[in-house]
């Protein structure tokens, strides 16, 4: 099949749609098969008694419970709460991280000055700040957003700094010699160069924000999926607990699809997104 596509393209007739459909079709098969294998293994391991059913319920029971949870209003309220925290955490990280990153990245002096504080604050695990968060913000949304924003701020900041620093110096010099003002240079040269990095930063920060939000809900008891998981655990209801854990994973997967799709859209003009030309 590959050769006939190649033959078609080299014959001057472009069939990009057909080419992509074939590629997507076989590309879809592998991940779906992998997921099915993992699920099957889970079922087998539990049913065969390798892991006791009292420690983890069989896959069929858990997935069944997941489907019934999807019909519960409380479940979607919890999802909404988790998404609320995620969006606010990511939003704050972007609002603070992108401008600061652009500022620090564009100045050699600022970068050198802030490097040590950044490298010092960055590895602090947000979960270590939970007692501080609870003391200042209590056990609600603000606490959870504080932790998520703190954790997702760093990848956002650093990616933006790298993006700004990666600007092609030849392009900058050319722009200068064309007489572009500083602001115009930022708009036409720096920003387009940095946007792919920023987009990666958003994708990473999005994942980090979700992790911290669910963790905060689990540990602090803020409303959301994490708290529901902990309640199920306290009640010894393993089926619901693992169903909700699966739901959290699925939520992360969906959010990743959304941010990746947004990234592709925004970067449509970027060379890295172009198909290989004939």
């Amino acid at each position: 099949m590959a050769t006939s596509a190649g033959a078609e393209i080299s014959a001057g007739r472009r069939a990009p749609g057909w080419h992509r459909r074939v590629r997507d079709g076989s590309a879809l098969l592998a991940p779906v098969a992998a997921v099915l294998v993992v699920l099957g293994l889970w079922e087998l391991v539990v049913r065969a008694g390798v892991i006791s059913e009292t420690n983890i319920p069989p896959m069929t029971a858990t997935v069944g419970e997941l489907f019934s949870q999807l019909g519960e209003g409380d479940f979607w309220t919890a999802v909404g709460r988790t998404l609320e925290g995620w969006a606010l955490g990511l939003g704050i990280a972007m609002v603070l991280g992108i401008p600061l990153g652009m500022l620090i990245g564009s100045s050699r002096w600022l970068f050198r000055a802030f490097r040590v504080p950044i490298e010092f604050l960055r590895p602090i695990p947000s979960v270590a700040l939970i007692p501080l968060a609870v003391l200042i913000y209590g056990t609600g949304l603000e606490s959870k957003v504080f932790l998520a924003a703190f954790a997702s701020f760093w990848p956002m900041l650093i990616q933006t700094i790298y993006g700004v620093q990666d600007v092609d110096p030849v392009a900058t010099d050319t722009a200068k010699s064309f007489g572009l003002s500083r602001l115009a240079r930022v708009r036409h040269i720096t920003l387009p160069s940095a946007v792919p990095y920023i987009a990666t930063g958003v994708r990473i920060s999005s994942a980090v924000s979700l992790i911290l939000v669910v963790t905060a809900e689990l540990v602090i008891g803020a409303a959301g999926l994490g708290r529901e998981i902990n309640t199920a655990r306290s009640g010894g209801n393993l089926e619901v607990m693992y169903a909700l854990i699966l739901a959290t994973g699925l939520l992360g997967y969906v959010l990743n699809l959304v941010t990746s799709a947004a990234e592709r859209r925004v970067l449509r003009w970027h060379p890295s997104q172009r198909e290989v030309a004939a």
Binding site: T54, V95, V134, G138, T139, V195, R233, S234
Partner: protein
């Protein structure tokens, strides 16, 4: 990259900056809005007659607090002009912190953590008993149990063994040590391992511990798999031994004593009602915990007598000091609000 398509890129950049700005404004607005909501909710003070006061009550998702939910359902709190928001927490420590910081006006808190807090000078007061141990050992809802194949047959076999408790330096440690001593077993011979309640059945199965001090619903589930009861610590200390409280902050008492009195009346009424209607109490359990109704119908429930047994509370305090769980036991007047129902 330089020539051609500059307009398209400029358009995308403008779009991105607009999106970022919008997101930022939205985020700031949302945080500001949420901040205001919380402030309005947590004031809880100074209500005029006929107005409804909103109060936040911290709870743990366990069957002990069923009367609170029964009372909410039956409208006992509304009759006192209170609108309850039950806030589930993960541990007693968290409830103490949240009360001290003003996040909660009331909370369900064990006697031992309350005594520890008050003896350290934290501005909290007990306003009602929340639950007690059972009358007889076979009805006790937190019991030291062992697995089916365990060589332990009797409480005397516990000497030198490892027992799992949910938290060291808590009510578990006090009750277990006091009960063992009363039964003639040296309390210093046992080893206590801290294991959260949900993980206790697995710890027992994997033989990481010899016995577990497990509450419902884990008690019923382990017994259902052939586990055996060895010792009911609270019942050994006495029938209907004090376990938990509903407590409030000094700040709440100072700013709105009427709401505290109203809450106390309503919760006492709820506990009486729940004791007389256990089926309704069991029906509320799945609503605040994730315990399914079939399990909620089978588990052992705590008792909910209204008057606080100050003699037993004092004794519990002395035990707690004896086993070095708290430094000194507070006087009953310092611990318990004068308006609470005592016997």
């Amino acid at each position: 990259m330089m020539c051609g398509g500059l307009d398209a890129r400029a358009r995308w950049r403008r779009l991105m900056s607009v999106l970022v700005a919008a997101l930022g404004v939205a985020a700031l607005l949302a945080v500001a809005a949420c901040g205001d909501d919380d402030d309005a909710g947590s004031s809880g003070g100074g209500s005029a007659a006929g107005e409804v006061t909103k109060v936040k009550v911290g709870v743990l998702p366990i069957s002990n607090v069923a009367p609170l939910y029964v009372g909410m359902k039956k409208g006992f709190f509304k009759e006192e002009g209170l609108e309850i928001e039950a806030v589930p927490a993960q541990s007693g420590n968290e409830l103490v912190t949240a009360m001290v910081s003003g996040d909660l006006q009331f909370a369900f808190l064990g006697f031992v953590p309350m005594m520890a807090a008050v003896s350290k000078g934290l501005p909290l007061k007990v306003i009602a008993s929340s639950d007690t141990g059972a009358e007889k050992a076979e009805d006790e809802w937190t019991v030291i149990i062992v697995g089916k194949d365990s060589p332990i047959r009797d409480v005397k076999d516990l000497a030198g063994k490892t027992i799992a408790v949910n938290a060291l330096k808590g009510v578990g440690e006090v009750a277990i040590k006091a009960a063992l001593e009363k039964r003639g077993v040296d309390p210093n011979s046992i080893k206590l391992l801290e294991v959260p309640f949900p993980e206790m059945p697995a710890a027992l199965q994997k033989k990481r511990v010899d016995a577990i001090w497990a509450p419902e619903p884990f008690l019923t589930s382990v017994l259902g798999e052939g586990g055996r009861e060895i010792e009911a610590p609270l019942t050994t200390l006495g029938p209907r031994y004090p376990n938990g409280t509903y407590s409030t902050t000094e700040k709440q008492l100072a700013s709105d004593e009427e709401s505290v009195a109203g809450f106390t009346r309503a919760i006492n009424k709820s506990m009486e009602y729940a004791s007389e209607h256990p089926k309704e109490a069991r029906a509320t359990i799945p609503t605040f915990s994730k315990i399914p109704q079939e399990v909620a119908d089978k588990i052992r429930l705590p008792l909910w007598p209204v008057p606080i047994d100050t003699a037993k509370v004092q004794e519990l305090g002395n035990y707690a000091v004896k086993y070095k769980v708290i430094e000194k036991a507070p006087a009953m007047e310092d611990l318990i609000w004068e308006g609470a129902t005592k016997n």
